[in-house]
Structures are given as structure tokens and as C-alpha cells.
């Protein structure tokens, strides 16, 4: 990472130098060989100097504020506001429970938001906010971006704090129904599965998949069928496909 960053920073400097030189060379064709060579050399060192194309315009602060609604684990992006689980309960019943159930238990195939604690090693794990999600800020960020399903961006900042508090309360992360969740303390909430994730390690953990000479002939005993999709029979019928006119 640091290498490419340095390269990027370097490119800006090179561009500032290269362009005027190249132009000068073009204007006075003979007698500027040295300048041309220098420009060539600089170009060779930085094969893709950034070019300012003069396209686009500066973004205004109001425009950035309107679209920049993301929230990071360190709290960057959290807006001013507050809410409690008690306040969130009423909101949740009104705006969320049709799909997610009164306590976040999920209706039909809609996502389960609570419970499942300690099931991550089970045969059928229950991955909820409380049992799985590493960061409380993600609850705020996601609700703010995408919920309620079908009416996104309709909640106020306070409402999202209250709903986040309710969801954390349903998951026993916040015990007190009247605890006020706000801009200053949401990022400090420690989630039960905060340490449950690690970065992609396939290069190491699956090193055995890089094989020099995979077996081509007489590779083990003759296999037997141990499972069949048609025994489960959940594939849509070809005739049941969408109509195309």
C-alpha cells in the first residue's frame, strides 16, 4: 500500500514538471534536445503521469453533506442526535416489525436481527446483530442507508439512534432501556463478536491448492454418488420461468 501511495504522491510532482517541459520542447523544435531528453527521462520514471483534464467541478459543502451519510467504526460520520431503546421500541413496532418481528426475530424469510448468541460453531449458525456483527456503527450506517426496505432515507437521525439502541437492547448489548445512545458513545459500544473476524488468509491456509502436478491418471478409487439434487427437488421447473414477450 505505502509503495503505491508514494508513487501517487510522486506522480503529482512529476506531472507538474513534465508538462511544461514537453510543451516547451514542442514549441521550439530544434535546440531543445536536453529539455526533451529530461522530459523523456521523467516520463520513463513515471509511466502514467496524472493528467488534469479540466473536467468536473468542485463539490460544494452542502452537496457533500447531503450524500456523505456513511458511518465508520471509529465514529466518523455519526451525526448529532440521540435516542433510547424505549423510544426505539415504539418506532420499531411501527416501521420495522412487519418484516423483522416485534423483537427482531424475523418474519418469514426476512432477516432475524436478534438472538443466536453462541451459535457460530453450530451446524446451523444464527448470524444476527448480537451474535455476529462486529461493529455497532454498522447498524446505524445500514439503517440510515437502506431501511425501512422500500422507504429508505425516511428516518431522522434521532430515530436511527433510537432504533439502533432498541436493536442493541434486543441483543443484550445495551442492558438499560433508557440508556441514551448518541454521537459520542455509539462508536464505543463493544459488540460481542467484535473479535470474530480476520483478514483473508487463503494464500496461507489454502496453500495446498497451489499444486505443481495435479494427478491425471488413476487418481484414487472409483467414486460413488453420495448426494443428488433431484432427491431434494427444489429446482424451479423450466416451464416456470418468467414470461418473455
Amino acid at each position: 500500500m505505502s509503495k503505491s501511495l508514494k508513487a501517487l504522491a510522486g506522480l503529482a510532482v512529476v506531472a507538474a514538471m513534465t508538462l511544461p517541459l514537453a510543451q516547451a520542447g514542442a514549441e521550439h523544435k530544434p535546440g531543445h534536445k536536453a529539455a526533451k531528453e529530461a522530459a523523456k527521462e521523467a516520463k520513463a520514471k513515471a509511466p502514467a503521469a496524472p493528467v488534469k483534464l479540466g473536467l468536473g467541478r468542485p463539490a460544494l459543502p452542502e452537496e457533500i453533506a447531503a450524500w456523505d451519510i456513511d458511518v465508520r467504526p471509529d465514529g466518523q460520520g455519526l451525526p448529532p442526535g440521540r435516542g433510547t431503546a424505549r423510544e426505539g421500541d415504539a418506532l420499531f413496532q411501527e416501521k420495522c416489525s412487519t418484516c423483522h418481528g416485534e423483537f427482531g426475530e424475523g418474519v418469514g424469510r426476512y432477516p432475524v436481527l436478534s438472538g443466536g448468541h453462541g451459535t457460530l460453531k453450530a451446524d446451523r449458525p444464527d448470524k444476527t446483530i448480537g451474535s455476529y456483527w462486529p461493529d455497532a456503527t454498522t447498524v446505524y450506517d445500514y439503517v440510515r442507508h437502506a431501511m425501512p426496505f422500500g422507504n429508505a432515507r425516511s428516518l431522522s437521525n434521532d430515530e436511527i439512534y433510537a432504533l439502533t439502541a432498541y436493536l442493541l437492547n434486543m441483543n443484550d448489548v445495551i442492558k438499560d432501556q433508557d440508556f441514551e445512545l448518541n454521537q459520542d458513545n455509539l462508536a464505543k459500544v463493544k459488540m460481542p463478536n467484535a473479535d470474530g473476524f480476520y483478514e483473508d488468509d487463503r494464500d496461507v491456509a489454502e496453500k495446498s491448492f497451489w499444486k505443481k502436478d495435479p494427478c491425471m491418471k488413476n487418481c484414487g478409487p472409483a467414486p460413488k454418488v453420495i448426494g443428488r439434487a433431484i432427491a431434494i427437488d427444489v429446482t424451479p421447473d423450466d416451464k416456470a420461468g418468467p414470461k418473455v414477450d
Partner: protein, 430 residues
């Protein structure tokens, strides 16, 4: 199923492959075309030839009737299909590319699989904006016209959903490569490099990550390492020569070569530059891979080498004895596909398939095995090998490391069981 006929087929195949012979070599190898060899009743003339057909007599449609053409009505089954029980709503769901009926390496735009989280955003391009802000010298706003005035590139890449084949972790479940492997498409994109866009704003030296966000009702957002962004990420407005389809992100989408489809943010409207990942829902709750010890991998971006035989397959059974064409696709997010092996006996013996057509970096390749089939049972498998030396693993090898609850990144070898009547099914073998 006896051992001998299978190895005979394989041996003949190996011979044909080694000698570089096509159909002409077949007779030399001692095979006979059954339709010619059969003795029977005197042949009757074929009415498809002896009777004048409508299309041979009457005028067809004029050039003014099909301003934007669609496939022949006889191809009406070559369509995307969905599996309604998979998800709670069709707006946050997925459908599948009809791989079994396609050939070559380019997926026709109209059947490229779809995956939305808040339905298809229908965006007026005149009202679409792309904003770049955060750790930049100058936060900028671009119109579509601005972006189309920038230097363009054309690239062919596969886009595979991280969940492709995810329903098969616990065993054979869906009967057809459209359903088991159809969350993938491969098209030519036209657009600009993300590097070009970032250079306009000027990325600050402490920048490490970008947030990409869509304009749809899901506000899809993902964190992308800056290193990848500057390497080969492009921002595309065209696919297969024309504007993106609405369901594929019209008017603007991210193209993240070799990486899981979820990162390819559609209806892209905002890029924020930062110094750490955002841990959005799509990289914490989703697109993290639960392992047997109860912990989970995160940022599993790359899609590993994978392949599937698209015909024969459950939706494309064998219909003829004698000469047949086996075909399939292979791909790798780590680079180009170097080789594809095919087995007809469930992985005991392998032959190298013939790759035909363009072999491109992080693109689908097309492979073939031309073979004879005498009606014996077959257990078909394909195995991709990429330029890094990665060999597509079996499902058992994957499960040994990952268990069955990792949801995503199932690139295990697929087995099709071909019955003596040609019917082909999705099976697990051991």
C-alpha cells in the same frame, strides 16, 4: 458401471487430442457413425426438405419492424431464471445466467444475471452525478458527459457473485448449471480507469481505502483498498458496446476485475477517500465467510479459479450417441486460466481440454472436449488451473478447511452424472 468402457473413451480421447485430429480422424480410430451404419427400412424423404416451408414462400419482416432486435422465438427458454425460495423479496434477490445454453465467452447483455438489494434503480443519466470527496485535494462532482470526455478503455472481465454455488456447500441441491453456477457474466466494458478519476481530485498521501456507494434504494456501499483502485479498477458506462442495462447499473458502475461481484457497485454515485475501511453491512454481516471455529474471514475479495461444464449438464442432456461436444467455462480472479482438465469418470482420470477463443486476464475462457459416447454412464468434472498455479479444488478439499457454513466462495469441482439415456444430474460423489 464397469471400469473398462470409460477408460476406452478416455484413451480414445487422449489419442485424438494428442494426434490433433478432429472428426476426420475418428474413422481412422475405428469409430463408426451409427446413423450410417444402421441397416433398416428404406429411408423416407425429409419433409423439411421436400415441402416448401412458409419462410421460403412468404415475405418476412421488413427492416422497419425490429429497431432493437431480440432473439428468435425458438430461443425463448434461454432466459434468466430465479429461485423464489432463496430470498424474502424479489427486490433484494438474484437471478441466474442461462449458462447451459450459451457459448463463446461473451454473455449477451439481456441474460446477464442480476443481483439487486433494493430493486433496479431507473436513473435519468442527465440527473446522475458522481462525487469524489474525503481525503482529496479538491472534492469534485462529475456529470455523465464529463466522464465520457475522459480517455476510455475497453476490457473484458467476468463478474461472479461471491455467493455463486453457495447453495451447494452442504451438497447437491439445484439441478442445473444455470442455478449452481449462473451468478456470473462476462462482458466487455467501456469506461475510464478509476485512477484517472482519482487524479482529477488529487488523492492525499494518507489515503488507504475508498468507499464506493450506489444511488439505489439500498445505498449499496463497500470499502475498496486504494491499491486495487489504482491497479485495474474501472468505472464503466457501457457493456458489450452499448450503454449499461438498468439492471447492470445504468448509467455508471464500478468494475473490480477478479473480485467478488458485490464490490462492483452499480448506479455508482459517490466515492469517498479515507484511511480505513468502513465496515459496512456488506463487508461485516454479509460477504464474510464463517469458518468451523466460529470465526470468520473478512475482505475475501478475490474469486478463485473455477470452472463448470455447461453442456452436457442437467438442462442440456446428451441427445445423441457417437460424436458429442462437451463444453464449459473457466475463470480465475487471480489472472488468466492456463489449463482446464476434464474427467469423465469422476476425477480418476483426466484429459486436457481444448481452450478456444480469447484467453484474457480475469475473463471467462471457453473449453471443449470432442468425444464419443456409447451410452455408458459418465461422471463429468472439470478442473481449472490458473497462471499462479492454483488448481481448482474439490468440494471435499474446500470443506475440509472451511466447513459448510462459509456461504461464499464455493469454487469446488462440479460433478454431473450422465445416465445411459442421456439424462444428466447434479450429484456429489466420494
Amino acid at each position: 458401471m464397469s471400469e473398462k468402457p470409460k477408460s476406452d473413451v478416455l484413451d480414445r480421447r487422449r489419442f485424438l487430442g494428442a494426434a490433433g485430429l478432429g472428426a476426420a480422424g475418428l474413422a481412422g480410430a475405428g469409430a463408426m457413425l451409427p446413423s450410417l451404419a444402421k441397416a433398416g427400412p428404406a429411408p423416407t424423404p425429409d419433409p423439411a426438405i421436400t415441402e416448401i416451408q412458409d419462410w421460403n414462400r412468404y415475405l418476412g419482416d421488413g427492416v422497419d419492424r425490429r429497431p432493437y432486435g431480440v432473439p428468435s422465438k425458438f430461443e425463448k427458454d434461454v432466459i434468466r431464471r430465479d429461485v423464489s425460495w432463496l430470498t424474502a423479496s424479489p427486490e433484494s434477490s438474484v437471478n441466474f445466467t442461462p449458462l447451459h445454453a450459451l457459448d463463446g465467452i461473451i454473455t449477451p447483455s439481456g441474460v446477464c444475471f442480476e443481483r439487486h438489494h433494493g430493486g433496479i434503480a431507473e436513473i435519468d443519466p442527465a440527473q446522475h452525478r458522481l462525487m469524489i470527496h474525503g481525503l482529496v485535494d479538491t472534492p469534485l462532482v462529475f456529470t455523465m458527459d464529463d466522464i465520457k470526455r475522459m480517455p476510455r478503455i475497453n476490457k473484458i472481465y467476468f463478474l461472479e457473485c461471491a455467493a455463486n454455488s453457495g447453495m451447494e456447500w452442504r451438497g447437491a441441491q439445484l439441478n442445473g448449471c444455470q442455478f449452481t453456477h449462473g451468478m456470473i457474466h462476462n462482458v466487455m466494458y467501456t469506461g475510464v480507469t478509476l485512477k484517472t478519476l482519482l487524479e482529477q481530485a488529487g488523492v492525499k498521501s494518507n489515503a488507504k481505502w475508498l468507499l464506493l456507494e450506489g444511488a439505489d434504494s439500498a445505498g449499496m456501499d463497500r470499502s475498496l483498498p486504494l491499491e486495487k483502485a489504482l491497479d485495474d479498477v474501472m468505472i464503466a458506462y457501457a457493456m458489450n458496446g452499448e450503454a449499461l442495462r438498468p439492471e447492470n447499473g445504468y448509467p455508471l458502475r464500478a468494475v473490480i476485475p477478479g473480485w467478488q461481484g458485490n464490490l462492483w457497485v452499480k448506479w455508482l454515485r459517490r466515492i469517498e477517500v479515507g484511511d480505513m475501511p468502513w465496515q459496512t453491512r456488506e463487508e461485516t454481516s454479509k460477504y464474510t465467510d464463517l469458518m468451523p471455529d466460529g470465526r470468520a474471514r473478512k475482505y475475501t475479495f478475490v474469486m478463485d479459479a473455477k470452472s463448470v461444464i455447461t453442456s452436457p449438464s442437467p438442462q442440456a442432456p446428451l441427445k445423441h450417441k457417437g460424436r458429442n461436444v462437451l463444453t464449459g467455462i473457466a475463470w480465475s480472479g487471480r489472472g488468466t486460466v492456463k489449463r482446464v482438465d476434464v474427467s469423465m469418470d469422476g476425477g480418476r482420470n483426466w484429459v486436457e481440454a481444448r481452450i478456444d477463443g480469447p484467453v484474457l486476464n480475469k475473463s471467462i475462457v471457453r473449453f471443449y472436449v470432442d468425444f464419443d459416447w456409447n451410452g455408458e454412464e459418465l461422471m463429468l468434472q472439470s478442473r481449472a488451473i490458473d497462471e499462479t498455479g492454483y488448481v481448482q479444488p474439490t468440494k471435499a478439499e474446500l470443506r475440509k478447511i472451511r466447513g459448510v457454513n462459509s456461504v461464499y466462495h464455493n469454487n469446488g469441482i462440479q460433478t454431473w452424472l450422465v445416465h445411459p439415456d442421456g439424462v444428466t444430474e447434479n450429484v456429489e460423489i466420494a
